[in-house]
């Protein structure tokens, strides 16, 4: 008992140390950098400045912001539309079948997502698998331009992010008391009514969680936009990458990151508030 308590404390201390060292400190450095002035040689100067945040309000940057929100929203919506039925049917499968589906879903994680993005290029390229198949089938006469389009970017984002939508949804739907579905049907609700009135509202925590897990990271997936969308500034992630690696403007890159982190924090707070409200209803 005593030794397990000591182990527990040791683990807690180690984890806290790790978090402070690799989470809190870098974050503070990032926030601090965003309030310094730019310097083309030393990356930044130790002079307080709000210049970076002012720059973020430039129409050009706002445009990037708006577009990446659009991309992320579209990706999230697609993931939800495909992921929800997927998660629902998976949660209704027999136990071994469920495990199999989930393992199949996880296997791609064993491969780096950058590698998988290159794989998508192989499929979508003008000499790619898809074009070759369509040509062979005689559906098209000349290769379609699939790569370096917004569609390709959304497709890639969708492919990479789908599991992040499915897993929280599955976790939520799997816990759903199926007797509630039976009760709804017993009272006269058909498939659609049961889905809309019972299953969907009860799965909202999973929906929120899935959307947050897809939406925010999507805006940072710069390499997907680069590899599938060409070298254009599509996502906030591209902007951040460019500021740090090309423009050598660390304060601006940091400020952009801070904005992204704030968005995430805002959404998580919303999620937490919703959960608390739901919990308050269920137990007095």
């Amino acid at each position: 008992m005593k030794s397990s308590g000591r182990t527990e404390r040791l683990v807690t201390v180690l984890v806290s140390l790790w978090l402070v060292l690799f989470g809190v400190v870098p974050l503070l450095l990032l926030v601090a950098t965003s309030f310094f002035a730019q310097d083309p040689i030393d990356f930044f100067r130790l002079a307080p400045s709000l210049e970076s945040y002012r720059q973020l309000l430039d129409p050009g940057y706002l445009q990037v912001m708006r577009r990446s929100v659009q991309f992320a929203a579209l990706t999230t919506l697609l993931c939800l539309l495909i992921g929800y039925p997927f998660a629902w049917y998976t949660s209704r499968l027999s136990r071994p079948a469920r495990v199999l589906v989930l393992v199949l879903l996880m296997i791609p994680f064993w491969t780096n997502s950058l590698v998988r993005t290159y794989a998508i290029r192989m499929v979508l390229g003008s000499q790619g698998l898809l074009n070759q198949a369509l040509l062979a089938l005689g559906i098209i006469d000349s290769p379609l331009r699939l790569l370096y389009t917004d569609t390709a970017v959304v497709l890639g984002l969708f492919y990479l992010m789908l599991p992040f939508m499915i897993l929280p949804l599955y976790a939520c739907l799997e816990k759903l008391d199926y007797r509630l579905v039976e009760a709804a049907r017993d009272l006269g609700a058909g498939f659609l009514q049961t889905l809309l009135r019972i299953v969907w509202p009860l799965s909202l925590p999973g929906v929120y969680a899935g959307c947050i897990m897809v939406f925010v990271p999507t805006m940072g997936l710069f390499y997907v936009a680069t590899l599938l969308g060409g070298a254009r500034q599509l996502l906030v992630g591209n902007l951040i990458q460019q500021q740090f690696l090309n423009a050598r403007n660390w304060p601006l890159g940091s400020a952009t990151s801070v904005v992204l982190i704030l968005m995430m924090a805002l959404m998580l707070t919303g999620y937490w508030l919703v959960l608390r409200r739901l919990a308050g209803r269920r137990r007095q």
Binding site: D177, R179, L180, E182, A183, A184, R185, D186, L187, G188, A189, G190, Q193, R197, I198, P201, L202, L278, R281, R282, R283, Q284
Partner: protein
């Protein structure tokens, strides 16, 4: 019984090769309270799910008012269920839970509010309309589940062990409530339970189930007083058994039984032949601890090993000299204020002629 609302004809259902419901047939009357009673795994809940439409039978038919129910999905069947776990929708207030069925039928506004209020009043839950199910006690949730199920005015209400999660006092209260509701609504109730006391006190007719079949069907009184098998007798109420043998069939048709070294005559019963082993079944309340026993009745000698005062009755356990234990339950005799026994006191046990039930010894 002339007008049966629900007919179950030869229903069978197997799960993974195991026959859970086996060629089950039953007619349920217009405003009848029928209870399916049996140990867990006897197929009673499956039967309810077949009627509700959550399971499809392998064979057989289900008719509601003469119309075949089997092609219809659960939502199209005019039966409603009170689920064992209540299955109230946790995200909806009590009002919206009860209104669920009506809203599906596109009822809105004043009429909706009136009918929901009526249903809530019927189960005495009007003050709780704005609560969420998580904020209610078990008994209150139970009432809401009933209100939600009856608001669609089903032809038959199915109740799947609705009281099993309640404490004893609340359970008795709800038994009376449900009985009242059934009278007021005038619809058929089919109750599934493994609680024999509940089954006896509530039902018009009782179906004792065993291994997917009807073990016995009758009024609670018939089933309690005239069980047709030892299994049914054991399942319903407490019993005392006296093993014996049919000695001979008398000229007047009665049977002469041998109980150890004693003999007695009982009314003739088909299926019993001389030489056959039988069990004489007597309920604890049938036994009498007597000073002098009736002529021609067997009497057993023993000693009191335990007595417990139960308010209106006195329960005693008697160890017979031959080694078996009996349980007797006697009402207090107002003329005899000293009526009581000491532990260890010698007694003679007998019963009133004709109260015994003779069953072929199956074991």
């Amino acid at each position: 019984m002339a007008t049966s609302v629900l007919s179950l004809c030869g229903l069978s259902k197997s799960f993974a090769g195991h026959r859970v419901v086996d060629d089950f047939s039953l007619e349920i009357g217009q405003a009848e309270f029928v209870t399916l009673l049996g140990p867990s795994g006897c197929g009673k809940t499956t039967l309810l799910r077949l009627i509700a439409g959550f399971e499809h039978p392998d064979s057989g038919r289900i008719l509601l008012d003469g119309v075949d129910l089997l092609p219809l999905p659960p939502e199209k069947r005019q039966v409603n269920t009170v689920f064992q776990s209540y299955a109230l929708f946790p995200h909806l207030r009590v009002f919206d839970n009860v209104a669920f069925g009506l809203r599906l039928r596109r009822m809105r506004g004043e009429e909706l509010r009136r009918q929901v209020a009526e249903a809530l009043a019927l189960v005495q839950m009007s003050p709780f309309a704005d609560r969420f199910p998580g904020q209610l006690s078990g008994g209150q949730q139970q009432r809401v589940a009933v209100a939600r199920a009856i608001i669609n005015r089903p032809r038959v209400l199915l109740l799947d062990e609705p009281l099993s999660a309640l404490d004893a006092r609340l359970r008795r209260e709800m038994q009376v409530e449900l009985k009242r509701l059934q009278r007021e609504l005038g619809i058929a109730f089919v109750l599934v339970t493994h609680d024999q006391e509940e089954a006896l006190s509530m039902s018009d007719r009782l179906v004792v189930m065993a291994e997917g079949r009807i073990a016995q069907l009758g009024t609670p009184r018939e089933v309690y007083e005239e069980p047709n098998s030892l299994a049914v007798a054991r399942f319903i109420g407490e019993i005392n058994l006296f093993p014996g043998r049919v000695a001979e069939r008398l000229a007047d048709g009665r049977l002469l039984l041998a109980l150890g070294d004693q003999e007695m005559t009982v009314a003739g019963k088909s299926g019993l032949a001389p030489g056959q082993a039988v069990q004489l079944l007597l309920r604890p309340e049938d036994l009498r601890l007597v000073e002098r026993h009736e002529e021609g009745m067997p009497v057993f000698h023993g000693a009191i090993v335990e007595r417990s005062y139960r308010g209106s009755t006195l329960d005693t356990i008697i160890l017979l000299d031959e080694g078996r234990q009996l349980r007797a339950c006697e009402f207090f005799d107002e003329d005899d204020p000293d009526f009581d026994y000491r532990v260890g006191e010698r007694v003679r046990v007998s019963w009133v002629r004709g109260w015994e039930v003779v069953l072929a010894d199956e074991e």
